[in-house]
């Protein structure tokens, strides 16, 4: 395990130095929260089942963070590390290859969690955010969603021949999901035929699971989401562990 701690700390520093990554994970969701919070406030409405705009936005924007970290961040970082020969340089040391994988996951997990924490703090401080769930289940839902999507990001990085391809594939998957999964725009205000498309998008299940746990629904009502996310996790991990290339 020698070097793992140092690698993780260094990766955190590098993340914060990357303006676009830090912006999409930390700043952009907060800006959205303040924008829609200032327009609609956080009064309970029947449209959102008795919750306010900010209440439903916090779990939804958390899904947005997980999506952007997984699809805009991970594929590009890993593919760049490979294409530029950075992975090769690490491999010429006694560092275990798993350390690189684990440090990425820890950093991306930590940054996503930080992004969510900022939303919760801002929501509580400014809009009197409601929370009716069980912290443990929310954490579990967050972890499942994050790991599932991260593994998909690694899969893209493993399969893409170049950084450009990894970046393009990530964006092509992310942007439609951002708008159609309920992550940026609540599903409740989307028309029925668009919502049918939403059901084909994995990020929709992250939004549903996180929202459900946030408002204290039982996990039993979310077995479909759980199965889909666990399926993505298992399949992506299995494939990338076979096809991952160091150079």
């Amino acid at each position: 395990m020698r070097g793992w701690g140092k690698l993780i700390i260094t990766e955190f520093k590098l993340y914060l130095r990357e303006p676009t990554a830090a912006f999409f994970t930390l700043a952009f969701p907060l800006m959205m929260l303040f924008l829609f919070g200032s327009i609609y406030g956080n009064k309970p409405t029947p449209l959102f089942g008795g919750y306010g705009t900010v209440d439903v936005s916090v779990p939804a924007y958390t899904a947005m963070i997980i999506g952007s970290v997984s699809l805009l961040g991970i594929p590009v970082v890993i593919a760049t590390f490979r294409e530029k020969g950075i992975l090769r340089r690490f491999r010429a040391t006694p560092l275990r290859p798993q350390a690189i994988l684990v440090s990425r996951i820890v950093v991306d997990f930590g940054m996503s969690l930080l992004g969510m924490a900022l939303l919760v703090i801002a929501g509580k401080a400014v809009y009197n955010l409601r929370f009716e769930g069980n912290i443990f289940y929310v954490a579990l839902a967050f972890a499942l969603s994050a790991l599932s999507f991260f593994s998909a990001g690694f899969l893209i990085a493993s399969l893409a021949p170049t950084t450009r391809v990894a970046q393009t594939v990530g964006m092509v998957l992310f942007y439609p999901m951002l708008f159609l999964s309920g992550a940026a725009i609540p599903l409740e205000i989307l028309p029925e035929n668009i919502r049918r498309i939403s059901n084909l998008l994995p990020l929709t299940y992250v939004v549903k699971l996180l929202k459900g746990m946030w408002f204290g629904e039982s996990w039993g009502k979310h077995l479909v989401e759980t199965a889909i996310l666990a399926g993505i996790l298992i399949v992506s991990t299995a494939i990338s562990s076979r096809v991952f290339r160091w150079e």
Binding site: G3, L7, K13, E18, G85, R91, A92, T93, P94, R96
Partner: protein, 307 residues
């Protein structure tokens, strides 16, 4: 002296390309050992098989008594590696890179010696500079620093002066000699014959994956029997017979004002100059051209080394 690298019948094939074609050699402790050859000769393939980064198709390799495939992690604790092509994250700073890589090893240089290393490599004032903002030569020197950070027994340097100007290249040679003086074995590759000749104790010339020659640069040149040339300019004719009779001279050519004396032996220039002076001949622009490893390569392969 102990043998630190032992390679036997190493062979590596990529598709229809035989990159390394059954080569065997040994490297002794404390020497600067160089592999020279044109592009695609198989240098990188060989060195990376020895480092355990590529898997040979057949043959056996032992480095410090370790098998690079089976004992890869243990081996990499004890060797330093500079790859022909690699990079670091572009926002990682020089000082951070040093500390990060130092943390990967069981034993690495203590802080004071890391500072000395950066000083030695002329990077002391670059500590806060991110990788992407370094010049080519600075990147190269940072990679050398990373190759030395674990105080390795053997340092592998693949094309360390590519991309450097002649001045930077000379500075790098001095640095490599300094590394050897610290008791390390240096294993390097280059496609600059001059670099091999000036720097290496022994040179392995490789072409098309096969060993063409392996010896000290002096021996390679001497055994080739290549001629030294003494070139000068005179007004009018020279007494060719007199020069011909000088010890070591093989033949004399005159084209207009220009005279070329072909011969051998360290005393050749002195003898020629003495003979000219004794005959009262006034000469200008005298220089000697020594045979080089380029000539050795040409003689052994029938081709010029191309850069």
């Amino acid at each position: 002296m102990a043998t630190v690298v032992q390679v036997q019948n190493l062979r590596k094939v990529y598709g229809s390309v035989v990159a390394v074609d059954g080569i065997s050699f040994e490297v002794q402790e404390g020497e600067i050992f160089g592999m020279v050859g044109p592009n695609g000769a198989g240098k990188t393939t060989t060195i990376e098989c020895i480092e355990g980064l590529r898997i040979p198709d057949s043959g056996s390799i032992s480095v410090l008594g370790l098998d690079p495939q089976r004992d890869g992690y243990e081996l990499r604790e004890r060797i330093g590696v500079q790859l022909q092509e690699s990079a670091l994250p572009h926002r990682l700073k020089v000082g951070e890179a040093i500390d990060l890589f130092a943390s990967f090893y069981r034993r690495s240089l203590p802080r004071k010696e890391r500072d000395e290393l950066l000083e030695f490599l002329g990077l002391a004032d670059r500590r806060k500079v991110p990788f992407a903002k370094l010049s080519g030569g600075q990147k190269q020197r940072l990679f050398i620093a990373l190759a030395l950070i674990n105080d390795p027994d053997i340092v592998f340097l693949d094309e360390l002066t590519t991309g450097l100007d002649p001045q930077g290249r000379r500075a790098m040679w001095d640095m490599i000699r300094g590394i050897r003086e610290r008791g390390k074995t240096v294993f390097l590759t280059t496609h600059f014959m001059e670099e091999a000749e000036r720097l290496c104790d022994r040179v392995l010339i490789i072409d098309h994956g096969k060993i063409v020659a392996l010896d000290s640069p002096e021996n390679l040149i001497r055994n080739l029997g290549a001629e030294t040339r003494v070139v000068f300019t005179v007004d009018g004719a020279i007494p060719a017979e007199k020069l011909q009779a000088v010890e070591g001279v093989r033949r004399v050519e005159q084209i207009g004002e220009r005279v070329i004396v072909y011969g051998e032996g360290d005393a050749l220039v002195g003898n020629v100059v003495n003979a000219l002076t004794a005959s009262g001949i006034r000469f200008r622009d005298l220089r000697t051209e020594q045979p080089t490893l380029e000539d050795v390569f040409l003689a052994l392969t029938g081709r010029e080394m191309r850069d």
